[in-house]
């Protein structure tokens, strides 16, 4: 690490950046204090300004991280606590992909990847990331070059190939953590196998960081992870309230710190304030929708490029998305995280990611959400890009509609590629589904 890089980091992040971001936050807070009334939506969450500051600061830190801190690019479901404890700056290409999707840049980057020969059938996060890396374009300034890549297969197999492309491009070490599929619960040898790989990953990360992992620091980071995940689950559970104080559309955005700042103290602080804000809304009778008439559960990733359109379409009809398997996945594993045994419990936790488990398990999660959140139906987003999440949805829908008597709709789209989204077709299906629920 270089002194010059550290000086540049402190100047740009701690002195100039922080001041500017705080000013921007205050400006937004003033705006949020008197929001423009929406015909169907309640006022925005008061913590929105702080969240924007957190995310902007994260990418600002990334911009100046090279040379000051070791940088690791990681998959969203990778065990990151040891990396945090070693002082790595962590970048999540999937999260960056979502930012590109929301900012309507994903199509351009996907096309750039396709021009290089990557098929349109590959995940749009992978294409967005590869396109962004190869063109150097990003809506967040500059992405730091990775010193280490950590790829965990508990979310899909695409990451194996995607991260090999990154490793070849950046010429840095790649650690793969292979997680055997869990049909029911993880066997002891699966846990031992993943634990061994995490231990090997620690060795590589220590070499890259040039320092040793301190057990106390690791326990402390794991505790922060556990606290943030616990709080996240409580945040989500506030939506069990009828009417709901926020919707899954809010939760998709509020998810950012739990993904990319897991193990950092400010993520815990943020979720404490968000939880307090939700409790305040419940106490004051402030709801996500002005007139909540129906409650739905969402399955799969959001359609990042159509969040506003979908959100307003649902709100217009008095439909609140009160829960989603996607946001729930980041909280449901909290009980498995044990700060006293960070690596062992990490192996078990990361094995049980929803996409590493059976389709029957996911059906049970959906059924649980329907019952716990008093939902009237389920929308299953059949995501062209995310095969592991979408496989089994036809049967899951069949079981919900048949044995469970829960109305369910399969909606075809893509989480990041707007070219695989047909507004007219989605609208036709949604309207017909809502007519069923309203009748």
């Amino acid at each position: 690490m270089s002194l010059l890089a550290s000086a540049r980091y402190h100047l740009n992040v701690d002195l100039i950046g922080n001041g500017f971001l705080r000013y921007e936050r205050r400006k937004l807070e003033r705006k949020l204090a008197n929001p423009r009334p929406h015909p169907h939506l309640g006022p925005p969450l008061v913590t929105a300004a702080e969240l924007k500051e957190l995310i902007s600061r994260h990418y600002l830190k990334g911009r100046y991280a090279s040379g000051h801190k070791p940088v690791a690019w990681v998959t969203s479901g990778a065990p990151v606590e040891f990396l945090q404890a070693l002082g790595f700056f962590l970048l999540y290409p999937e999260n960056h992909g979502a930012v590109c999707g929301i900012r309507r840049k994903a199509e351009e980057y996907c096309s750039a990847a396709e021009d290089l020969g990557y098929s349109r059938d590959i995940c749009s996060y992978a294409r967005t990331d590869i396109g962004s890396v190869m063109t150097g374009k990003t809506p967040v300034g500059t992405l730091p070059r990775p010193d280490l890549l950590v790829c965990c297969t508990n979310i899909c197999q695409t990451v194996l190939y995607w991260y090999r492309v990154l490793a070849e491009h950046f010429g840095c070490p790649l650690v793969i953590i292979d997680t055997p599929f869990v049909y029911d619960s993880a066997s002891d040898h699966s846990v031992a196998y993943v634990l061994r790989q995490i231990e090997q990953a620690v060795e590589v990360a220590e070499r890259v960081a040039g320092r040793s992992l301190e057990p106390d620091k690791l326990r402390q980071v794991t505790q922060l992870s556990r606290d943030a995940v616990d709080l996240w689950m409580q945040v989500l559970e506030r939506c069990r309230h009828r009417p709901a104080p926020m919707t899954a559309f809010d939760a998709f955005i509020q998810l950012a710190p739990i993904v990319e700042m897991r193990g950092e103290d400010f993520a815990v602080g943020y979720y404490q304030r968000l939880l307090a804000a939700l409790d305040q809304r419940i106490a004051d009778g402030v709801w996500a929708l002005k007139d909540e008439r129906l409650r739905l559960v969402w399955d799969n990733l959001p359609i990042w490029h159509r969040m506003r359109w979908l959100g307003e379409r649902f709100a217009e009809r008095g439909v609140a998305l009160v829960a989603s398997t996607y946001t729930n996945a980041w909280g449901e594993l909290a009980p498995l995280i044990d700060p006293a045994h960070p690596l062992e419990s990490g192996a078990r936790t990361y094995l049980h990611a929803i996409l590493n488990r059976s389709t029957g398990h996911k059906l049970n999660v959906i059924k649980g959400l329907v019952s716990d959140y008093q939902a009237d139906g389920v929308v299953l987003h059949s995501d062209r890009s995310c095969k592991p999440y979408s496989v089994g949805q036809i049967d899951q829908r069949g079981r919900l509609v048949g044995a469970e008597g829960v109305p369910a709709l399969l909606l075809e789209a893509d989480h990041n590629d707007p070219r695989s989204f047909s507004e007219e077709q989605v609208a036709a299906r949604l309207d017909a589904f809502l007519e069923i629920l309203e009748s």
């Binding site: 036809i394 509609v401 109305p407 369910a408 399969l410 036709a428 299906r429 007519e435 069923i436």
Partner: protein, 254 residues
């Protein structure tokens, strides 16, 4: 409402249908036109003409189909799923599975008691399982669409088409013609290709007897015959299959 007549208009991707029903729900007037690019004006003119002809200037109106939001005059806009279910239930009076093959959409609707939609499935982003598939093929073969079904039923000979894509099926069809294969077996193969896609959608949606077929394509006898064979279930075409959506809209308006 002050009127014993109610109107329903279905602005589909290919044709626009208008139906008037009396207080018992019986059809008293209907018209079908190719959907014009100026859909709003076309719908307004059709509605005005029907109200004039029926002497019912205040007849309530419900609009359905892709262009339903363009009908300013309508008391309500309702999706074609709900309208088809209502229209067909009026004809059958019992729960059933409805397969509606339109110009651009194919829908399988499970209709429960009272005409309520229990669930539905639609074709994905591909027109190969819809009326457009047959239209494109008929145009390419320079045959009127009404002659297409009867031609497919002319014999048992069938030329299988491996492609399920409209565009690729067209090239495949041309290669077969270039090899001197007769027209009827090719046309039968085209029908088979469409019907297989529709049957797969229907099976996935859990189609159970009685199965009804609506939409413009239901007027094609080969589609009905081949669909029965594929599903192993009797397929009934209700009276005026193309009007089911507009009929249901009129029933909802009344």
């Amino acid at each position: 409402m002050g009127s014993t007549v109610a109107l329903g208009i279905d602005l589909g991707s290919t044709t626009t249908k208008l139906v008037a029903v009396d207080a018992t729900g019986a059809l008293v007037h209907h018209s079908v036109q190719s959907t014009a690019p100026t859909m709003a004006q076309q719908a307004a003119a059709l509605v005005a003409q029907a109200r004039l002809d029926l002497g019912a200037p205040d007849a309530p109106l419900v609009a359905t189909g892709y262009g339903r939001h363009l009908v300013q005059d309508a008391a309500r806009q309702v999706t074609e799923i709900t309208c088809h279910a209502r229209g067909v239930f009026h004809a059958t009076g019992q729960p059933c599975t409805l397969i509606d093959i339109g110009g651009q959409d194919t829908k399988v609707i499970t209709i429960g008691a009272g005409g309520k939609v229990m669930s539905f499935a639609m074709n994905d982003k591909c027109a190969a399982g819809t009326g457009r598939f047959l239209e494109v093929a008929a145009q390419r073969l320079q045959l009127p669409i009404d002659a297409f079904g009867p031609l497919a039923l002319e014999g048992d000979a069938e030329e299988p088409l491996s492609s399920t894509c409209v565009v690729f099926a067209e090239s495949e069809m041309i290669s077969l013609l270039a090899r001197g294969v007769a027209l009827a077996p090719i046309v039968r193969g085209l029908h088979r290709s469409l019907v297989r896609r529709v049957a797969a959608l229907a099976r996935g949606a859990g189609a159970q007897a009685p199965v009804l077929l609506s939409g413009g394509v239901a007027r094609n006898p080969a589609v009905r015959a081949l669909l029965e064979a594929e599903l192993g279930l009797a397929v009934v075409v209700p009276p005026h299959p193309q009007l089911a959506g507009a009929w249901g809209a009129a029933l909802l308006a009344g």
